[in-house]
Amino acid sequence: MQALYAQLLVGLINGSFYALLSLGLAVIFGMLNIINFAHGALYMMGAFVAYFLLNLGGVNYWWALLLAPIIVGIFGMILERTMLQWLTGLDHLYGLLLTFGIALIVQGVFQNYFGSSGLPYAIPDQLKGGMNLGFMFLPVYRGWVVIFSLVVCLATWFLIEKTRLGAYLRAATENPTLVRAFGINVPRMITLTYGLGVGLAALAGVLSAPINQVRPLMGADLIIVVFAVVVIGGMGSIMGSIITGFALGVIEGLTKYFYPEASNTVVFVLMVVVLLVKPTGLTGRAA
């Protein structure tokens, strides 16, 4: 039973990363009509920024949690201003190709300097150790990742669905020209949205640094799983992305316990099943 709970926890943690990443993809897709292939690379950058902050600047984990998403978010906004904005009006596929190129560049540069091995990032002192919950032993840091990710996801949902800024954002997704006519600076909103989505990816990167080590290719395979998550959940709904992300993480964790051989493939197999049964995805509108 201990092993089952442990795998469930691992599943929840992976689910947090899926949720944070697919949430960012959905937000970016809503505004920019681009599938951000660079998302995995920017997730990796988040972890590396945290690593640099700690080892070069002596900045601790808590500040990294705030600063890394901002730094990577600014990097993302520069990418949007200098490159992505020129793709408006072109076929969606060019956005995919461009961001794929960006991902190759970013991953290649980091691989060149850091090879493929992992760099250690220590768990902050306040979150070391574990708790005995009676039925299982819970490492504090892992519990923290799940709860904090959930809070961030819900905050993003609240921002987009319940605030005035979110209302502008949703309106601009539906009809950018009309929203511009009301005097709202839509291009700036697009830039900020991209920064927000990318910042969420970087945040996931910082959270994963103490668990998975900091590796140049940590995002490369993850992003493909997240694509499958997005296909399953559809990108139409924010809450849908969050729930699908966590749910698939848990299912993956359960698979690791019951049938470990399939743990790498279960998300993809589920994607196939969903496509056969409900081609539009669980929550999404037809694309």
């Binding site: 599938i35 490159m83 020129w86 793709l87 009006g89 072109l90 076929d91 969606h92 596929l93 060019y94 956005g95 995919l96 190709l97 461009l98 794929f100 190129g101 960006i102 991902a103 190759l104 560049i105 970013v106 991953q107 290649g108 540069v109 691989q111 060149n112 395979d221 493909i224 799983v225 694509f227 499958a228 997005v230 296909v231 051989e261 790498n264 493939t265 993809f268 197999v269 994607m271 196939v272 496509l275 056969l276 081609p279 539009t280 694309a287």
Partner: protein, 322 residues
């Protein structure tokens, strides 16, 4: 939405003549390679990738479907051909057929699943399916995991042509490539190809004209996947191995890059692109991971400034169809 390519005119007799001349020039150039002292292994490898890129281009350039998992067809055909040649001891012609059949079956299944969603969803699904297959091959016993199938015998084609001789192998690969290329050319200029182009340009309109667009896209997917499998089966004789790199997503990305560099939706673009990218990898092999960075930069430059690709720009400048 701007279309991917601006070649929307039906093929005129003049364009047909230009393309035939270009084809003859290409065939003669390639046929003279063994006499020039150019390393034949390099050209053979490039030819296999060129065929793969042409097959990929059939889908994106004429069907508007960006597959991000085309390596799975090449890799699957490679594994199956390699297994048939080495373990079952089949002669080369049957080994190639086994590879093509495997890619055909795979494209039936993956096409049926992925064609259900459009646009970028289609790309994400094909990528996810190829990753699924990658993990299956990683664990399956017959692929030998990380090692791959090594030392695949080349044998005698129809009992006559000794494929272990580089010159004979070269001409066999060349004939295979030219046959595949002509088949794709024929498909593009068939009534089927014209319908495919119309779906790429305006799908709702094609539907309103009574075409079952899903069936056309599915058929294009199967043709493209099977031809990609043919490229993979040929590559087994050149490389004499089948490994995981051929199924990895980075290989699918390279195929996209080749086609993009040469020109999406141009007939000769993927061939030029394949030669450019393979040559680049050859010459820059000593630079390690910088090759990835350079490839990424080419992606970015092509998308931002150079969307027609090398052949597309030339054709556009001379107002010709190539």
């Amino acid at each position: 939405m701007t279309a991917l390519t601006d070649d929307t005119l039906p093929t005129s007799p003049r364009a047909m003549r230009d393309e035939m001349i270009a084809f003859v020039v290409m065939a003669l150039l390639l046929a003279s390679v063994p006499f020039t002292g150019v390393y034949p292994f390099f050209v053979m490898q490039a030819l296999c990738f060129a065929l793969l890129a042409c097959a990929f281009n059939l889908l994106i350039g004429y069907g508007g479907l960006l597959s991000f998992g085309h390596a799975m067809f090449m890799g699957t055909a490679g594994y199956c051909s390699g297994h048939a040649l080495k373990v079952w001891g089949l002669p080369p012609e049957l080994g190639i057929l086994v590879g093509i059949a495997a890619a055909f079956v795979l494209s039936l299944v993956t096409g049926y699943i992925s064609i259900r969603r459009q646009g970028i969803y289609f790309s994400m699904i094909t990528l996810a399916l190829s990753q699924l297959l990658y993990f299956i091959y990683l664990q399956a016993p017959f692929t030998h995991g990380e090692d791959g199938i090594q030392g695949i015998p080349q044998g005698h084609l129809i009992g006559v042509f000794d494929l272990s001789k580089p010159t004979i192998l070269y001409y066999v690969v060349l004939v295979g490539f030219l046959a595949g290329f002509l088949l794709i050319y024929r498909i593009i200029n068939s009534p089927f190809g014209e319908v495919l182009k119309s779906i790429r340009e305006n799908e709702p309109r094609a539907i309103s004209l009574g075409y079952r667009t899903d069936q056309y896209k599915f058929l294009a997917f199967v043709l493209s996947g099977t031809l990609a499998g043919f490229a993979g089966a040929l590559k087994v004789f050149v490389a004499q191995n089948a490994s995981l790199t051929d199924v990895h997503w980075s290989m699918s990305g390279e195929v996209v890059l080749m086609t993009l560099v040469g020109g999406l939706g141009t007939i000769f673009g993927p061939v030029v692109g394949a030669f450019v990218i393979i040559a680049m990898q050859q010459y820059l092999a000593g630079f390690g991971q910088w090759v990835t960075v350079i490839q990424g930069s080419i992606f970015v430059i092509c998308v931002l400034t150079f969307r027609r690709g090398l052949v597309g720009e030339v054709a556009h400048y001379f107002r010709r169809s190539l």
